[in-house]
């Protein structure tokens, strides 16, 4: 959600901040998350492990950072080719935000697979995960729009997001070791 909010900021200098820009961004994020959920669910079938799970975070971080550098050239390229700011903002958000958001979407179903031990508790585990991830989205939205934009530059916030993903990924891979010792 934090990334989605910043997406609006990234696009505004080229495509304005009208309702269609938000329409483009929300569409692209929803589409990407849905694809990510699907892929994440499939991946969970093939010998799931905490290490692979950690790699998803690392991958998301690795894809997120180039967005900072690609944003400007991508938007110039799109602006030169698409006159209508509705389709311009849609094209630019597709290029910039699909990859990181798909990877972030993979995380939820994969974590369900890792956390469910018995079939009877699957609903409870999924519920807890939805609870945690949606609560996190809410807090991320609030913190970003109320405070982060007042304190930090946009790129700084994106780098911190990527850094957090990196840490979580590393943590996942380390814990795999602990798991084995236990």
């Amino acid at each position: 959600m934090s990334l989605e909010l910043l997406g609006g900021r990234v696009l505004a200098p080229w495509f304005g901040s009208s309702i269609y820009v938000w329409g483009s961004i929300i569409t692209v994020f929803m589409l990407s998350l849905s694809v990510g959920y699907f892929i994440g669910g499939r991946l969970s079938l093939h010998s799931p492990s905490l290490a692979k799970f950690g790699c998803m975070f690392l991958l998301a971080a690795a894809i997120l950072v180039p967005v900072i550098y690609l944003a400007e050239p991508v938007m110039i390229w799109v602006f030169d080719r698409i006159e209508d700011p509705r389709y311009g903002s849609l094209a630019a958000s597709l290029v910039l935000f699909v990859a990181p958001t798909v990877v972030l979407g993979m995380i939820s179903p994969y974590s369900v697979r890792l956390l469910v031990r018995r079939r009877e508790e699957s609903g409870k585990v999924a519920g807890t995960l939805y609870f945690v991830s949606t609560l996190g989205s809410a807090l991320g939205t609030l913190a970003t729009s109320f405070y982060f934009v007042l304190w930090f530059e946009m790129d700084t916030i994106i780098v911190v997001l990527a850094g957090t993903l990196l840490l979580l990924g590393a943590l996942g891979i380390c814990c795999r070791g602990l798991d084995r010792h236990a």
């Binding site: 900021r9 505004a12 200098p13 080229w14 495509f15 304005g16 901040s17 009208s18 309702i19 602006f79 030169d80 006159e83 700011p85 109320f146 934009v149 007042l150 930090f152 530059e153 946009m154 790129d155």
Partner: protein, 301 residues
């Protein structure tokens, strides 16, 4: 019993009036929910006003005196005419933000050869300006329904230039944050013909004043600030070359004085009010596309 009933009806009436956001002596001629605001056209005893309303907080965008349609009702509109001191004979003008169309209408009447492009994001505002405020489009005055930032970028791409750019897209309650950054001002500066100027209407209160002033200084260097004690607005005049000296400003004000009489613009008082003094905190961060919490800063004094 009778008393209670009359008190109750008075309370009800007061609530009805308050919820409409207008006082008892005002008559709502038109109400429209556009994509961006609730637009109201309100007839007051001595003037006709365009208002944008968010719940009960209604703010005048533009007012005219129906008996004297040229008279500029708002102080800030009169102050914006100080642009003619810096660019006395503009041939091409870009106006970002239409409102009731007061400025483009006045400029089109004062300058027989001028070409004016107006960029306004809200088609409903254009319709209201045409219907109620006698705003006329013709081959000299054209309106573009577009985000001003997008319009400026396209205009640059097509190599267009303007002698005068008027920035009046801030509705007071909400500031389009991408229209207040150094990058946007730099794009606007590049759009200026040699000797051209940008004139911007902004608020003089709140922390935003410092940040905004630093942003203009970053892009244009020294600029003119125009403030009058009776107005919460301040007008910025910035050029892409050196600022004109006081003698030039005074000469231009004398030239324009007769024509501006009917508009009630005290143009000859402006040269001495145009100040280059740094009356803000220069340590404040300029606004950029990376950092532009303009609406959050506006809320903090």
């Amino acid at each position: 019993m009778h008393d209670i009933r009359s008190i109750a009806s008075a309370i009800l009436l007061a609530c009805a009036v308050a919820s409409a956001g207008v006082a008892a002596d005002q008559q709502v001629l038109h109400r429209e929910q556009s994509l961006y605001h609730t637009i109201l056209v309100v007839a007051e005893p001595t003037r006709l006003c365009l208002k944008f309303s968010v719940r009960n907080n209604t703010r005048n965008q533009s007012c005219v005196d129906p008996h004297d349609s040229k008279r500029m009702v708002f102080g800030y509109t009169r102050m914006m005419m100080a642009a003619l001191l810096v660019v006395p004979e503009p041939e091409t003008v870009l106006v970002a933000g239409l409102g009731g169309g007061t400025l483009p209408t006045a400029l089109a009447a004062l300058l027989p050869d001028v070409r004016i492009d107006v960029v306004e994001i809200d088609p409903a505002v254009v319709k209201v300006a045409r219907t109620y405020f006698d705003f006329q489009e013709n081959e000299r005055v054209r309106v573009h329904i577009r985000d001003a930032r997008v319009f400026v970028k396209r205009a640059l791409q097509r190599g267009r230039q303007y002698d005068l750019v008027i920035l009046d897209a801030y509705s007071g309650d909400y500031i389009p944050e991408h229209l207040m950054t150094a990058e946007f001002l730099d794009e606007t500066r590049k759009l200026l013909a040699p000797g051209g100027a940008v004139v911007a209407n902004t608020l003089a209160t709140s922390q935003l004043y410092d940040h905004e002033s630093e942003t203009y200084r970053l892009v244009f260097g020294e600029f003119f600030n125009l403030r009058v004690s009776t107005s919460n607005n301040r007008v910025i005049l910035a050029t892409n070359g050196p600022l004109p000296n006081k003698a030039t400003l005074r000469a231009n004000s004398r030239t324009w004085r007769p024509a501006l009489g009917p508009y009630d613009v005290p143009i000859t008082s402006y040269p001495r009010r145009l100040s280059t003094k740094v009356d803000w905190d220069p340590t404040k961060r300029p606004l950029t596309d990376q950092y532009s919490p303009a609406n959050l800063l506006k809320g903090s004094r």
